[in-house]
């Protein structure tokens, strides 16, 4: 049983391109575009991170249940989604994300 990487990623890439283009064309507000993707990243995080954390706890406690197989599968598939949507999240907040890596002085120097 293999895992798909590209198939679950396609609808999210298409969806981001759609909402971004709608925002750029002034059809939807920027806040809606941002908050829709914040909600998607939150849901992906809850399912993927939650499943991963549950699996880890089950493994440490030696609990073996039939739910482990779907948990592992959805952890991986939504982990791919989470990684992709995280890139979108950084892109959305690129201006503030840039401050993490560049010091304020250097930024001001670059501006001048």
């Amino acid at each position: 049983m293999g895992y798909d990487i590209i198939l679950p990623a396609i609808p999210f890439i298409g969806g981001y391109a759609l909402t971004y283009s709608l925002y750029k064309m002034d059809i939807i507000k920027r806040s809606i575009h941002i908050n829709v993707w914040n909600l998607i990243i939150l849901l992906a995080f809850i399912i993927s991170g939650g499943a991963g954390f549950l699996l880890l706890i089950f493994m440490e406690l030696g609990i073996k249940m039939p739910i482990n197989q779907p948990l592992l599968y959805w952890h991986v598939e939504l982990g791919v989604t989470l990684a992709l949507v995280t890139i979108f999240h950084v892109h959305t907040y690129w201006k503030s994300a840039r401050t993490m890596f560049l010091a304020a002085k250097r930024r001001s120097k670059n501006k001048t």
Binding site: M1, G2, N38, L56, G79
Partner: protein
């Protein structure tokens, strides 16, 4: 018995090729993960024990044969050389299967939460500016996200393409550790940006007052206290387990060494041993192996805490 328990699938799955996790091992070539087949060792032990009853020399014929997984009790025939050969074969089998790694879930989580409480305290006292405070945690979550994502994609590629490298266990280990950083970091991120987080629900669903917690820091403190109690409970239980296993180990080692000496004397006196001698030998060696594994697992328990 102990080997079968230690090398079983940690998720309790029976995967077909290429498997669902990087631990997939198929030495038999039947397309099913060896870790999900707990009956293989017992069945092979049964089959080889029948061989022992037929002829005492049959067990030592194929010392390097990995297809017939030999347990410690298999080759304890009258010949002492045969038991040594069986131990070699057993170690080869164990070496081909991955050991169960230890993930420091609770210590790492506690460390991150403790670090956040320190930086939050410094920020609330005005020593650390809001911008620096946020930057530190944004950097940490970026490290967690990037590390977890990259190692996760690597693991998917390893599974899909059936790539077996020596790096697989370490990639899995770092995926887990960085994911812990990512998960705890994300919860902290939500706390740092709680105003825009509430705003999200207002914008999308029209919820005006989205208040889950009134005092998040106090709830964090309660969570830390509960987790500390759990950790200390686990540590105390592991220490108790160590003491009892050590005591049992000492007593059983003495008894088994005497039994082993007796059996060796018997085996040297009569090479063509009877079936009763064989069973006597078997119990001695099995007890010996179980005591060594219990002491080692106790040591792991200490490290974990």
């Amino acid at each position: 018995m102990s080997g079968a328990c230690a090398l079983s699938c940690p998720y309790g799955l029976t995967c077909t090729a290429p498997g669902q996790c990087p631990r997939y091992v198929d030495s038999g070539g039947d397309g099913i993960c060896d870790l999900g087949q707990p009956t293989t060792s017992s069945s092979s032990a049964e089959s080889t024990s029948y061989d022992n009853s037929d002829s005492s020399s049959s067990a030592s014929q194929d010392p390097t044969d990995t297809s017939s997984v030999s347990s410690g009790s298999v080759n304890n025939s009258s010949d002492t050389n045969a038991s040594a050969v069986a131990d070699q074969g057993n170690s080869i089998d164990n070496g081909s299967l991955p050991d169960e790694p230890q993930y420091f879930t609770i210590p790492v989580s506690m460390l991150i939460i403790g670090l956040y409480l320190i930086t939050h305290f410094l920020f609330s006292k005005g020593i650390l500016s809001r911008q620096k405070h946020r930057r530190i945690w944004n950097l940490l979550i970026t490290v967690g996200m990037a590390g977890s994502g990259i190692t996760g994609i690597l693991l998917i590629l390893f599974i899909n393409l059936s790539i077996k490298t020596a790096l697989n266990p370490s990639v899995t280990f770092w995926h887990v550790e960085l994911s812990i950083l990512m998960v705890i970091g994300t919860i902290i991120h939500l706390h740092l940006y709680r105003k825009p987080f509430r705003n999200m629900f207002r914008v999308l669903f029209g919820v005006k007052n989205f208040k889950v917690f009134k005092k998040p820091v106090s709830i964090l403190v309660v969570v830390i206290v509960i987790s500390m109690a759990v950790v200390s409970g686990q540590y105390l239980s592991s220490v108790d387990g160590d003491d009892t296993s050590k005591l049992n180990g000492i007593s059983s080692n003495n008894s088994t060494s005497n039994q082993y000496q007796d059996s060796l004397n018997k085996s040297t006196s009569s090479v063509q041993s009877t079936s009763s001698d064989v069973t006597y030998d078997t119990t001695g060696v099995v007890q010996d192996t179980t005591t060594t594994t219990t002491t080692s697992s106790g040591g792991k328990g200490k490290n974990k805490s």
